[in-house]
Subunit: 425 residues, 4 copies
């Protein structure tokens, strides 16, 4: 057991942090102005992408599966601290071609795409030429129980026809978004089991019948790249656009989630660190009743609790990344539920404290806090609401208890002194 | 970065766990009966000590400072998971000669004792022949601020005379307790600074004038080895009984705390694991309203939160142990405050949930839960109340913020768009 | 709507408070000494009972049902603030003949006893000559779901035969306890519905076959009047000892609960007030880091939160008492669940804060805090665990929602703007 | 003590609720569309105002001070339940001419305005012809400590000159806003005491030098009537525009706060009731894992806790209103701090639960929840942050403890048995 990062990771941390501080942060005000005006800030992002690529800070998230493949050869455990740094400026991931949902889609295609699919979609995604989205959640059912997903995929000869409504589809409003990876139910008629009914399709964004209905505001904020509502009305794609097998959609989507959640969680932790940094600075500067806010023991408690909660959460996420790397995503399934739960709840908790230290200013766009809180709040649903993860973790724990000892722990059986009333009854 | 334990640690974990399950646990009912009757269960403990010693499971906590010294050569990081196992049966540490406060006292003597002190006290402590206590807390002042400590140590020629009252002195009621390491104020007259006024003395328990006033119950429970109130009335010891220099008492006591807190925290985590195990078993077995308790989502939430909180806390403690090992106790000072805070609060939280799942039975001696909760509650004061640790952590965080950026983070300065009202005012 | 107490209540408050401060409190140390020695302090209690009775401070809890009956003619709303005062010294209720479980048993007998039962049991209970207990909870089933109660009552000619095990039977160890009101299942064979199977019997404590197995410690504390485990082995009582009808046990027990819970809750609130008073006094007196504890903002927050939580809870309990008085116990069923939930959780919360302000001393018998916390913790199970009350309240709320609007609130239907994608699809 | 509303209040509750359901709610979608388009919905509001006025549902908040004055003669306690109903649709208060900050300004003018001020400002405010704002908070200081307020008011002959920056000035962007009541520091030079330095001025919104800098978004939402930043650059008003005496600003502002906070709190409670209603409806309708969400015990717990917390908070607010009515605003100062604290924290808590039950939809504009949460979050600062109210409440409690018993409660002194070690030392 060793908690030290390798020299390579330490060096990359320095490089990414310097890139962020020296190049991304100074561009932030301009990025925000574009976004506030409703225009995607390609002018800001594209030059930074080229710089990052030229420095090799590109596709850092992608483990190499086979020789002579793209990818940095970083493990998830090695990439994680870099994602944490990127979290400090929400839009910076795109600069390094490490944005969700592209990262997950790239992994999916990397592992399961046909040759033609690789050429058409994976190559330009890896080059940062196009963006993509992943269309799973639906407004009319509780997507927390993914077997509820109702968008219908019907085969008609050599094509699939898609009908349904999706929402909270992140990135669909990005001007470069060309591809929707769509999860739908293809097997209801065939009577396949609940988890073997769903299929993934690669649907070009310009396919007729696919409408971007609206970019849904989240806590009053409309993300510039969108959390969109998409309507599929008789959307028709060739059978060759199917990713993996019919009915394998669920398994594929699951495989996609592990590393992606590690990235999300580490970015959240980076955002919590930023919030703690801002809250501390504010506590030093702001005065009331004759003292700096940082002299008040309740503000100190918020700062201290934030510090120890962030440190604990980071270790948990790194541990989950290590398990994915060493034992595989399936073995790490519960760990990944745990970090998703912990990081999202942490973010709203730490950000809320920071907003409180800033006073009313903390709710305004004059600090990044309100946006970050709102994103954390959304994270408590995206990739599954807290309650689903709690349920998953608890059921695993109970299953373990059941397997181990029948129902009574020997530590309880042996604890109890023989009943004092054993009178031979 | 690597989260795997070494093969040696893995093997020791197996050995200690097996010893606990096969030898300690079966003796627990008898131990409890003795203790309930007010008699220290030496008959139970001594044979187990000999067995543990013969297996080399002895003084496991003690790092080796120099060649040909006692100690297992285990680092704190390596010992930590063994302490976790010992936590499962509160009295088992003594079997492995790893009990607080002996462990801390042994470390103190190991590092600072004169040759004569080593022979007289350290040797029998390492052999498990005697026990010891550490007399710091006082009833009449807030010991959380240790500069408050008021017991007076006055030098009279070649002797020190001690007057004062101590309480919550753990272990002082153990039948083998022979030594009190006493912290007192020797420098008030000399005008030494607040942190350079205190001195440590080695006071034999049978010194005239030292009275064990009472064994104070904690949450209605009288620990069999005691959280005692001690009265020092003109207690006189030779100057040679001073440990370290005059005025160095504070520095020495601090040095003593790091590893000892790691041990406490890991034992707490072991107790939380036990509570989670019992709560899960109970949730499977107990039924209400037509369902096992484990089917109810609120009970599931308690189990899941306990799981992720325990896992996070364990990683934090292991990380602190690693820092002590690699960077020294002083560098790890804040980490040690953090784990002390986290572990004590975790224990009452997890234990409270477990008691709730057990219903009224959870409050009775029929399970170990009530005792463990009470111990966790006491831990929120022992070695410093939560609030002192929160304060320590917050002040370190604020100091870092102050050092870094003056008062305003560049991430805030650069976040803020230029004020839209910059009208040339 | 008027929040002022009537002059009569105000006067009684003054009288009871003065009695408590001038007569009960000075006797407390002696009471505690007796209890610590395991002897019930009749010598302390009996003279005080006579004094209280002579002042008319007797059976204050008992509303008058009919003319020329015992009872103070106080409503529940009028008695409630007096119960709050009694809460300040746990054992004082007995002095005013207002102790649980006698109060509930007296109400039961008052309403449902036959003439013979009234003479034999109710009269001496009202006179304070005997005490009683109520035997419902069982160790082997989740009594939270009362249909689980398994003690069997079998009729054999003109007698009932009782077999089963009860526990947490409060008051059974009181030296004057003469009567157990026993709930058992009489109707399993007859196939009666789950809530119509149980019957109440009046069982003299000295009936052969009834054994007091043990006085179960709660959080390590053995109540001097007991939370007892009782074993019924072929306990035989005449049919005339049945209270109410066969199968009516549930309905009767429910009827008994409303006022009794108001009393419990108000006493809890009195205990929370006492804790807040002690915590404030300690915060003024104790110093650390150069300040009184009460100068620290986190301690201030605990005090302030305690104040507003106590004030809210008191109003809720008074409101429930008012509803019982004006609309009857059945109409107030949900209110009574709510106050039981709120008061028990409040007590552990406020007491825990108070213990934290006192430091380690807060856990010792040197303050009443540890005992009061433990009682509060027990209250989270007695008369039903929190979870049962939460469930009851939630189901009532959901039933109301279902009744009102089908499933969608007009405030939601009308909130939603017509979908912007209503493209005539 | 009586918890029943009077017949008059009950009838007004019915009337207001019917008005809201039948007239306001149907107009809501249109109101929202206007607002989303950035236009103040006067077309929607004005006809409703005329209807409300014709029904006598007008200025309901205003107690009558003297004979033949405006005002409904409703007490604060009587108006409170009507404010609760208005809370259900945020903009409805305006319809009844009961909006903040007009209500507070009207009260101020009602009590302290000169005849000329009454004619010019109070009359049109009471008629609903104009709106007003109250300019106190400032961006550059912690306004939580109001002595920090720095806007300078300097007298030059028969005029005052104002310089400073204000923000979070609610209502300043309303198209009918004609008047700013401005708090500034007039007494720094004169050396007046901290609480006697501030003066209130009536400043017409069109005074030269007064600029509405921006309408500050709160949690990404720009209120249509604004939380505005105002810049005062050499703003000059006649001395006759002073409200009350020089240096009396603080006392006047305080007087204004009591009833206004009761209104805010009751509206918050109405919003919490709405959230609970929506959450319950959603819990009945939405299904996951084979059950309605309302069948899950964690969702039930949220519903039940919300119910009991809302009920407690309402009683506390009503009690505070009663105290204002019966004992005056000054006597109720702590009560008013308490309700402000409780209601704002309640709102974010209940709304957060409701959002969680709705899933991602709860964060979108498809329900009122996100807006209501955001408003609740802002309420945790408006009229003073939580921490200031906690401090106020705690200091009052500590002052009471100090006054009562010196530092040690008799309940502690008498609790403690004489020390067992009283050995005559």
């Amino acid at each position: 057991m060793d908690f030290a990062h390798s020299p390579r990771v330490t060096q990359l941390q320095t490089q990414v942090r310097r890139f962020l501080d020296d190049l991304v942060l100074p561009a932030n005000a301009q990025w925000q102005r574009y976004a506030a005006a409703g225009a995607y800030p390609l002018d800001v992002v594209e030059p930074l992408k080229r710089q990052a690529q030229s420095l090799g800070l590109w596709n850092l998230f992608l483990p190499r599966l086979r020789e002579q493949e793209p990818g940095t050869r970083l493990t998830n455990l090695e990439y994680a601290p870099l994602a944490e740094i990127m979290g400090r400026v929400a839009w910076s991931s795109e600069v390094f071609n490490c944005s969700a949902p592209d990262t997950g889609n790239i992994e999916l295609l990397h592992r399961f795409a046909s040759h033609a699919q690789t050429e058409r979609w994976l190559a330009p995604l890896l080059a940062g030429e196009i963006r993509s989205c992943f269309a799973m959640s639906e407004p009319d059912v509780a997507s927390s129980d993914a077997t509820n997903i109702a968008t219908r995929i019907v085969r008609e000869r050599d094509a699939y026809v898609v009908n349904g409504r999706k929402w909270f589809i992140t990135g669909a409003a990005h001007p470069n978004c060309r591809l929707a990876v769509v999860m739908g139910c293809s097997g209801e008629a065939s009577g396949a089991k609940a988890h073997a009914r769903h299929t993934l399709l690669l649907v070009p964004m310009d396919t007729p019948g696919l409408t971007l209905v609206r970019n849904v505001p989240v806590m009053q904020q409309q993300a510039i790249d969108g959390h969109c509502e998409l309507l599929f009305q008789n959307v028709r794609v060739p059978v060759a656009n199917r990713l993996g097998d019919e009915g394998a959609g669920f398994a594929l989507a699951q495989a996609r989630l592990g590393p992606g959640r590690v990235h999300h969680c580490m970015r959240s932790i980076g955002q919590c660190e930023l919030a703690l940094e801002l809250m501390s600075a504010r506590a030093l500067e702001r005065r009331a009743f004759g003292h700096a806010l940082g002299d008040f023991a309740n503000v100190q408690d918020w700062i201290a609790h934030s510090r120890v909660e962030i440190d604990q959460a980071r270790l948990l996420v790194l541990h989950a990344a290590w398990r994915i790397d060493t034992q595989g995503a399936t073995a790490a399934r519960i760990d990944v539920s745990a970090i998703k739960l912990v990081a999202a709840q942490l973010q709203t908790r730490v950000l809320d404290r920071a907003m409180q230290v800033f006073g009313a200013m903390g709710l305004t766009p004059d600090t990044p806090l309100a946006q970050l809180w709102s994103w954390g709040r959304a994270m408590r649903f995206l990739d599954g609401p807290d309650e689903v993860h709690l349920r998953t973790i608890a059921r695993a724990e109970l299953a373990r208890a059941r397997a181990e000892a029948g129902s009574t722990s020997p530590y309880l059986q042996r604890w109890m002194p023989p009943h004092p009333d054993d009178l031979g009854t």
